[in-house]
Amino acid sequence: MLASLAAPALADWVVMESGAEVKVAKGTMTVKPGAEWNRSSQRPSRRSEAWTRDGINLNELTFFGAINEGESILRQGYTTNEKLPRFKSDMLPTDITEMFEATNRMVLQSPVFKMGKVEPAKLGKHDGVRFSYNYSAQAEDIERRGEAVAAIVEGKLYIVNFVAPSLHYFDAGIGEVRTMVEGITINPPKAKAVDDGKKKKKRKPSSFDVMIEAAKK
C-alpha cells in the first residue's frame, strides 16, 4: 500500500537471509523467510517495517506489530484529510478489514480499491482473518493486488500485508509469503515496553538535541 508513498531513494536496505529467523516490527513478530528479502530503513509507521525482493514498487511485504487501542495503521501524516480510522480492541474481523480499506482509500486518495475474499485464517497459531484486495493509485497506471492476514492478540493488532502489481509480481511472490505467515510467531510486548514507547515519544529535547539544532542554524 505504500508503494506510491515511500521514497526508496532515501532508504537504507538490509538483506534478510533466506532460512534465517528474524524478529520484525520491533521484535513483535518472528519470521523465517524462504527467500532473500531486503528490509527498508523507512518504517510505514512506528510499529511496522517494510520488506521487498525486487524493489518496493514490485513487491512489498509489510509487518505491523502490536498496534494499540486508539492507534491508526499508518502514520496520520500520510494524509492531510480526515483522521485515519483508529484500532479498537473489540473490533470484529470485518471491522479490521473495513479499517484497512478506509485507511488505504484515504492515504492513496483512491476510491478504486476493491476488497475481495475475506475468510478465517491463522497468523502463526492465532486465529485471524485473511483478505485479498486490488486497487489503483491516482499517480499510477497499474493495478495492484494485495493479500493480508490480521489477528488481534492480547488486545493488540498484528497485520502482515503483501502488495504487488497484479501482472506477474503478485502471483510470483504470494506463495512464499503465505508460507512465511503460517510459520510466524507473535511476541506480544510486555506492558513495560509499551510505557517506554510512550515516554520516548513525549521526551523533552536533551541538551544534545539543542546543540545539534543550534549547529544547523
Binding site: T80, N81, E82, K83, L84, P85, K88, D90, M91, L92, P93, T94, D95, T97, E98, E101, A102, R105, M106, Q109, S110, P111, V112, M115, G116, K117, V118, E119, P120, V129, S136, A137, Q138, A139, E140, D141, I142, E143
Partner: protein, 383 residues
C-alpha cells in the same frame, strides 16, 4: 517524475506545433482552435485526453456514459453537444470541468449529489457554456500574458487527475464569465424541456454542503486539496437570487425535472457512489449529504447508508444509532442484505451478541455468494 517529464515533452511539442487540430479534437470549425497558441493548447489537452482514456479511474460503462451524454445533448441540443466528449471519473468529490478541445470531465461525486436530470443538466450545461463562449481560452491568454504558460503547464504536480483539477482551479473564471455561463445554461435548459428552477436548487444545495463541510474540522482544507469545484466556482447568495429570478420567467408546463428517469439511471451505481463517499471518513459532510438527498423522506438505501456512516465512526452511541437506521431500512426493504450485515456487526459490538449473530445469519442467507461469507459465517457462530 514520469508525469512531469511527459508534461515537459508535451510543452516542447506545443512550442513547435504548427499542424492543425489533431484527430481527437472536434472537427467543427466554430469549436476548433483559431491560432497557433490555441492549437498548442488543444494538443496539450488531447494528450491529457489520451491518458484519461486509459485511466483505471474511468467509469466507462456504456449505458451510464450514454445517459449522461444524453442529458447534456437534451439540455444544449444534439447539434451542439456533438463537439464534446464526456469522461466520468471515479472520484468521490463534486466537480465537472471542460477543456477547450471539447473534453468534459465529470467526477462521480457529482452524480451522487444531483437529484434529477435537470440538476445534472444545469451543471453540464454550465460547463458547456464556458466551452462554447471560449472562456478557458480567454483565461489561458490572461495567464499566458502574465507568466510563461509553457512553464505553467509543465510544473503542475501530482498524477494527471490532480493536474487536471489543479488546472481547473488555475483557470478559474471571473465573475462575469460565471454569470454568463449560468444564464446561457439556464436558457438552454428551459428551452429544451428542463425546469430551470433546478439551477438555483443545485447551486443552493452545493453551497449548503460547502457550509456544512467547512464547519467540519479540517474539512475545508481537505476539499481544497482535492481541487474541488468550489475553489473555482464562487457560489454566492447573489448567484442564487439571479438564477431564481431568471428561472421564474422561463418556467412552463411542458418542462420536467426528470427525477424518476435520473433515479432509474443511477440505481445500479448508487451503492458504489455512496460507498465511496462514506469511505472518505468525512462524517459531517456525508451526514449533510444524506439528509439533503433524503429531504425528509428516508428511503431504505439512505437509511442503510446512514447506518454504515455511524457504524464506521463507532463513537459512543454510534452503534445504537446505526442499529436504529439498519432496522428502519430493513422495515422498508427486507431484501437489503447488507443492512443485516451492518445490523449484526453493530449489535455484537454493542453487546447484544445473540441478536447480532442472528442478523449475520440472515445476511448470509440472502447473500450466499458474498466475498466475506467465510469470515461472517465464523462471526455468526463463534464470536
Amino acid at each position: 517524475m514520469r508525469t512531469l517529464l511527459r508534461s515537459l515533452a508535451a510543452g516542447v511539442a506545443l512550442l513547435t506545433c504548427v499542424a492543425g487540430a489533431s484527430a481527437m479534437s472536434s472537427g467543427k470549425p466554430e469549436y476548433g482552435p483559431r491560432d497557433e497558441t490555441e492549437r498548442g493548447l488543444w494538443q496539450q489537452m488531447d494528450e491529457y485526453e489520451r491518458e484519461l482514456k486509459n485511466s483505471e479511474f474511468l467509469m466507462n460503462d456504456p449505458a451510464l456514459n450514454s445517459y449522461v451524454k444524453g442529458v447534456l445533448c437534451k439540455a444544449v441540443g444534439a447539434e451542439r453537444c456533438g463537439a464534446t466528449r464526456i469522461y466520468i471519473v471515479r472520484t468521490p468529490y463534486y466537480n465537472a470541468m471542460m477543456a477547450p478541445n471539447g473534453m468534459m470531465i465529470v467526477w462521480s461525486g457529482l452524480l451522487l449529489r444531483t437529484r434529477n436530470e435537470a440538476e445534472l443538466a444545469t451543471v453540464l450545461g454550465h460547463e458547456f457554456a464556458h466551452f462554447e463562449k471560449r472562456h478557458s481560452i480567454q483565461m489561458y491568454n490572461n495567464v499566458k500574458s502574465k507568466t510563461d504558460a509553457m512553464t505553467w503547464l509543465s510544473v503542475l504536480p501530482g498524477g494527471f487527475l490532480a493536474q487536471m483539477s489543479l488546472m481547473g482551479s488555475v483557470m478559474s473564471f471571473n465573475r462575469d464569465m460565471e454569470r454568463q455561463a449560468d444564464l446561457v445554461a439556464l436558457d438552454d435548459l428551459a428551452r429544451n424541456g428542463y425546469d430551470p428552477i433546478a439551477a438555483s436548487e443545485i447551486w443552493e444545495q452545493l453551497r449548503a454542503e460547502m457550509d456544512s463541510t467547512s464547519e467540519g474540522r479540517r474539512m475545508r482544507k481537505a476539499m481544497d486539496n482535492a481541487g474541488d469545484f468550489f475553489s473555482s466556482h464562487p457560489n454566492s447568495k447573489e448567484r442564487m437570487e439571479y438564477l431564481r429570478a431568471a428561472a421564474i420567467g422561463k418556467r412552463s408546463s411542458g418542462q420536467t425535472m426528470g427525477t424518476e428517469s435520473y433515479r432509474r439511471a443511477m440505481a445500479p451505481w448508487w451503492p458504489q457512489l455512496i460507498n465511496d463517499q462514506i469511505k472518505l471518513n468525512q462524517f459531517g459532510a456525508t451526514e449533510f449529504l444524506l439528509a439533503s438527498m433524503a429531504r425528509g423522506a428516508w428511503t431504505a438505501d439512505l437509511l442503510y447508508a446512514r447506518g454504515e456512516l455511524y457504524r464506521a465512526r463507532g463513537k459512543e452511541g454510534d452503534f445504537a444509532s446505526a442499529i436504529g437506521f439498519y432496522k428502519q431500512a430493513i422495515a422498508q426493504d427486507a431484501l437489503l442484505a447488507e443492512s443485516y450485515r451492518g445490523l449484526g456487526v453493530s449489535l455484537i459490538r454493542s453487546g447484544s451478541k445473540d441478536e447480532g449473530k442472528k442478523a449475520l445469519k440472515q445476511y448470509l442467507e440472502k447473500r450466499p455468494d458474498a466475498d466475506d461469507h467465510g469470515i461472517v459465517s465464523m462471526m455468526a457462530t463463534t464470536s
